[in-house]
Amino acid sequence: MSLLKTENVVMQFGGVTAVNDLNIDIKKGELAALIGPNGAGKTTAFNVITGVYAPTKGKVLFSPVDSLGVANEIDITAKKPNKITNLGIARTFQNIRLFKELTVFENVLVATHQNVNFNFLSATLRLPKAVKGEIKAKQDCELLLDRMGLIDFKDEKASSLSYGKQRHLEIARALATDPQLLLLDEPAAGMNPQETDELTDLILRLKTDFGLTIFMIEHHMDLVMEISDHIYVLDFGCTIARGTPDHIQNNPKVIEAYLGVDADVED
C-alpha cells in the first residue's frame, strides 16, 4: 500500500527545470532513499512534497492512516507546509534549522503546538484544558527525548549542542509532530564515521520501533546501500533509475551520472 505518491511532478524556476516528471511511490513501512549528484533536484523534490514550493505541474498524493486504521488518499499538492505536517509528514533540513535560542526541550515542544485544542486565552489564563494539554505534551516530549538519548541536555540551548546531537535533536523534533512519513534531508552530512554509524542505528530504530516510513536524501553511499529498501536516482531533475540497492549499484546510467562517461566508450 503506498503512503506517498507523486504523479508527474514538474518544478520549474523561470527557465530552469529543477525537477522533471518525478514519479515516486513510497510504500508504507518502507525506507526509501533519493540520491543523485549535486544539483540534481533532490531537495527541491522534498520542498515540493512538504509544500514549500507549489509544483508547476503534477500531483502529490498522501495516504495517511487515520485512528481507525483506514487510509484515505489526500491530494496535498501545494498545501501549506504546516497543513502537510498536520497530516503526518515531518522533515529535517539539509542545513540544520533548529530554534537555536530555545532549549532542547522547547524545540521539541514547539512541534506539539499543532495539536493544541485550546486557544491562547485559556493557555494564558491556565484553564484546566490548557494545563492538561500542556502536561501531556511535556510528558510525551520527555519520553521522546529519553528515547532519543537527549534527556540529559533537556534544558540546554539547542545551539550549545554538538553537531551530531543537533542532528539528533532535529530528528527528535520532527518525531514530536507524530508523523507517519519522515523526510530526512542529508541526515549524515558533515558527520564523522562514528556519528554516521550512530545515525544508521537510529534510522533503523525509527523504522522498527516507531513504525515510521522514511524517505531520505543522502550522499553517504555505504549508508544508503546498507539500509534502504528502495532507491530513486535523480540527475538534472530526471529520474534515471529506481529499484533495490543491488539493482542501482549495477545500473550503468547511475554509474555514468556519478562518475561521468569515458570519452572512448561514448563513441
Binding site: P81, N82, R91, L98, L102
Partner: protein, 368 residues
Amino acid sequence: MENIQHRFGAYIKIHWKTIIFLVFVLITIGLADQFVNSYIRRLLNLCAIYTIISLGMNLVNGFTGQFSLGQAGFMAVGAYTVAIFTVPIEARATIFYLAPMTPLLANIQLPFIVALLLGGFVSAGFAFLIGGPCLRLRGDYLAIATLGFSEIIRIVFTNTQTITNGALGIKSIPTITSLWWSYGIALIIIILMILLINSSYGRAFKSIREDEIAAEAMGVGLFKTKMTSFMIGAFFTGIGGGLFAALLGTVDPKQFYFTLTYNFLLIIVLGGMGSISGTVIASFIVTLGQEWLRFLDEPMAFGLDLPIFRPGLRMVVFSALLMVIVLFYRKGIMGTNELTWDFIGKKIKTIKSKFNRKKPSAQGGDSK
C-alpha cells in the same frame, strides 16, 4: 480541596520571594501615591504606561520576531477610544465646537474601565485589519508597511472631525489614571505576558522568531500565529494608550507622530528584544533618564554660561549614553534572559567569584 490547598502551599514555597517583592512594590506605590509631588507622580505613571506599551511591542518584535513599527497608531486608537467614551456629555458641545459630535456617539458615556478595555479591543481590531495585508511581508517591508498604517490612522483621526474633533483634539478627559490604575494594569499585563510566553503559544511565537521555515515545517501556522501575537500586542498598546489619555486629560493627533514609536523601540532594544523584565527596566531608564537629563538643556547648568548647554543637549547626551550601552550590551540589558531569582543568584555568584579571583593578585601587588 486538600489538593488545592496542597498546590497553593507548593506555589507559595516556590514563589515566596516574588510574593514578598510584589508586596514591597504595592507598599511603594501606596507610599508614592500619598507622599510624592505631582511631577514625580506623573513620571512614575508614564513609566508604567510605557512599560505596558513596550511590552505590547516586544511581544511582536522581540518574541515573534516581526519588525513592526505601528505602535503609535495603536496607542492613538486606544487613547481616542477612552477619550471619546469618557468625556462628560455636558462638556462635549464646547469641545466639539467646530462640528458637533456625531449623534451615534454623542450620548454614550462609558465607565473608565469599560472604555479602557474597549480601547484595547478596538486597537486589536485595527491590528486585525492591518495585519491581513501586512503580516504577509517580512523584515523591513513589514516595518515600513506598519509605519505607514500608523501614520494613516493618525491622519484619519485628524480628519474625522465629528468623531475625534480633528486637529483640535479632545480636551477635559477625566484624569482617572492614578498610580494604582497604571501600576495595577501594568502588573496584570506583565503577569499575562509571562503566562502567555511560557505557554504553547509563547513557544510558537519564539519558534517563528528563530526560524520561520522550520516553524512552519513543525506545524506552526505562520500567518495565524503572527496575527495572534500582533493582535495581543495591539491590545496591550491600546490599553496603554487609554491610560495615557486619562493621564494627560487631553488627546490630539500630534501626540501620536510616528516618532513616538521610536521611544518604544528604544525601550525594547535597550531592555532586550524578547525579555519582559528587560522591557520593564528599560521603560524606567528611558522615561526617567530623559527627564533627569533635562538640566543639560539649561544654559546655566553648572553655574557657568557654557555655550554647549542649550536646549537639545539632553538628547545628545542621552543618545551617547545609549550608544555606550548598546556597544557593551549588544543584545540589550537583559538579552533574552529574564530577571528571575535564579538569574540574580547566578549573577551574584559570578561577581563574587570575580572578586575572589582578584584577591590573590591584589596581594601580589601587581594590579589594583
